[in-house]
Subunit: 419 residues, 2 copies
Amino acid sequence: MRQSQLFTKTRREAPSDEVSKNAQLLVRGGYIHKEMAGVYSYLPLGLRVFKKVEQIVREEMNKIGGQEMVMTALQDKEVWEKTGRWDDAVVDNWFKTKLKNDTELGLAYTHEPAITQLMKGYVSSYRDLPTAAYQFQLKFRNELRAKSGIFRLRQFTMKDLYSFSKNQKELDTFYEAAIEAYRAVFNRVGLGDKTYLTLASGGSFGTKFSHEFQTLTSAGEDTIYIHEGRKLAVNKEVYSDETLSELGLRKEDLREEKAVEVGNIYKLGTFYSEPLGLTFKDEAGANQPVIMGSYGIGIDRLIGTAVEVFADDKGIVWPEALAPFRVHLVDLSAGNEEVQKDAQELYRELTEAGVEVLWDDRDVRAGEKFADSDLLGIPLRVIVSQKSLEAGRYECVERASGTAAHKTLSELLSHLRAD
Amino acid sequence: MRQSQLFTKTRREAPSDEVSKNAQLLVRGGYIHKEMAGVYSYLPLGLRVFKKVEQIVREEMNKIGGQEMVMTALQDKEVWEKTGRWDDAVVDNWFKTKLKNDTELGLAYTHEPAITQLMKGYVSSYRDLPTAAYQFQLKFRNELRAKSGIFRLRQFTMKDLYSFSKNQKELDTFYEAAIEAYRAVFNRVGLGDKTYLTLASGGSFGTKFSHEFQTLTSAGEDTIYIHEGRKLAVNKEVYSDETLSELGLRKEDLREEKAVEVGNIYKLGTFYSEPLGLTFKDEAGANQPVIMGSYGIGIDRLIGTAVEVFADDKGIVWPEALAPFRVHLVDLSAGNEEVQKDAQELYRELTEAGVEVLWDDRDVRAGEKFADSDLLGIPLRVIVSQKSLEAGRYECVERASGTAAHKTLSELLSHLRAD
């Protein structure tokens, strides 16, 4: 894409109302736009990143047998009442609204009750189980404070998957598969090294612990205790002598860190299926409640985490899998027609080879182009100038390492194809 | 995909609370699930159709230079107040909600004010214009009645594109390009023949008329008067002697029809840019308000329209571009291992050739499989049975025409590749 055509622009200064690094950089780069505290639009560059993350998560959920669907934001009060979670005294971050006839509706902060109700139409026999469904859908949470950029939003997109099993063993098997799928997601987005499977409180769902995936960052709101050797952690909320002894962990082997929760998985058991009546007939013909699990990844927060973890003092540094473009073609032709033609030709060659290129064809100074390129954080910068034309080689600079190399077109193409 | 793995099931009977044909068939086929009146979830089959439509619309919007983004559902009261449209007496289908501190928020029923406000951050000079941005985003409308299935929803997805121009001529040029893009969309989804560019009231936006795209169907809520020769129509709401004489149309050349609005385009002019202060400096350095246009297509309604228009008494008939799968492989092996192996082999061959196949591998009677296949409406049914194995040819039945042909695997593959 030609950068001159993009309707967004970069900003030198972070808006004064943004305190978090992720929002400061994403707003400055023209990735997102703040509508109000905790509510951001995705601009064209940001949406490209969003779709990359979404597709990675989709592929991994499909691999474990998840079937994609989309539920609704507007939710039925009656269904929530059956699970005792409609009352604002029980759930403190509801957004609610009303039909013209004054019937109250909820704006989904989660979809467990809705999918439990929905599945009653399709699950009746042991032959229908196990199964799993997921969606990418808006969640609304009426957060009292929203100051962490896209870490804690009032409106955000979650991938939420729900599993439905006949018995505990089947749930356990799926749960283990989900852990591996989550590991694959975090590895693919480049956060695997910094992400720990973490024991957390099980909430009100009957099981003692749930699991979170926590990624190390000083911007995180959580404190976790890491065992590096076993690549696991314990959330401060369940960190006690009792927990440690249960897990066979010794305090002196653990390290305290700040982290952000990038995923969570719960064994729901029959918490929703019992009150809502989601049952199946087993092989003996007896009615049994379905055993459920719930598996979430916040897409926005994952993007924010990648920004927090990889950014440097010059701007964003995207891991390749998330970058809006693979190559930033910085065109220093400055009116020189021959150089301009070379830039155009390079853009064509790369695009035809299937490489996503942002071509900075704007009529601005070189210094401004380099500063913007640093801010935007596209993995490989390729500079086209009088010099490159004369040498027959382009200067190629990796955003993450700063490493520069001079490559001919065919060297560049084979480098990009090797990825 | 193996049909036995799909968590949804078909239903013989339409739910008693569905009166519209589109919802009856889509619910029976397991395409959608009703959460409440006017609020439907998309199940795996329905989501496949949804994404087909979305991608067609996306491609056509990209061709006219639209840049994809995503705005938010939660909206700022203050921005709406500046355009005089916050008051429930002015806009009668608002859903509203509140922050914890009692600040009122709106749930987007449209995004004109939001994008006008947003663009103030990026448009300042004539050099920034023209530009256009679009999104696929939820809209919320507090409809008093919602009885037309997915024709009139309380929550739905709209593609809304907004154009920003320096002057009327630039707007007119874009507007014409948008008309052609809309024609391309309706042609590609198979509704081109039945869809008419229709003059409608311009609303409060200063221009006399707006344009709608209306598709003929008895399920439509609108009445239009068609001039077949000129392939245009006049909505009843602006049908008058004065309008006809302005357009050079004679009453006797027009035909009255029921139709559904599948798209609408408006010249907004400065209706939003003036109160919200979206201006640009022209070449002489003077501040001018940006000239805007707005272009909508309701994705859900387009799907519902295709169902209404093409369905027959046996079920849905998808046009190829919208079908969740290209081929329905009806497997009549009924326990015969050789036939089963042949079905599996055929599934593999087709899938490897890039054909999307739903393989009905369920353990149910042939009659039930055929009835479900009719209901689901996949364009080509390929039957694998003892007979096909012996003949070395598969019976291939087109859902739309009922035409049957017997094809070898290679004939079938070349038929599918020819599309």
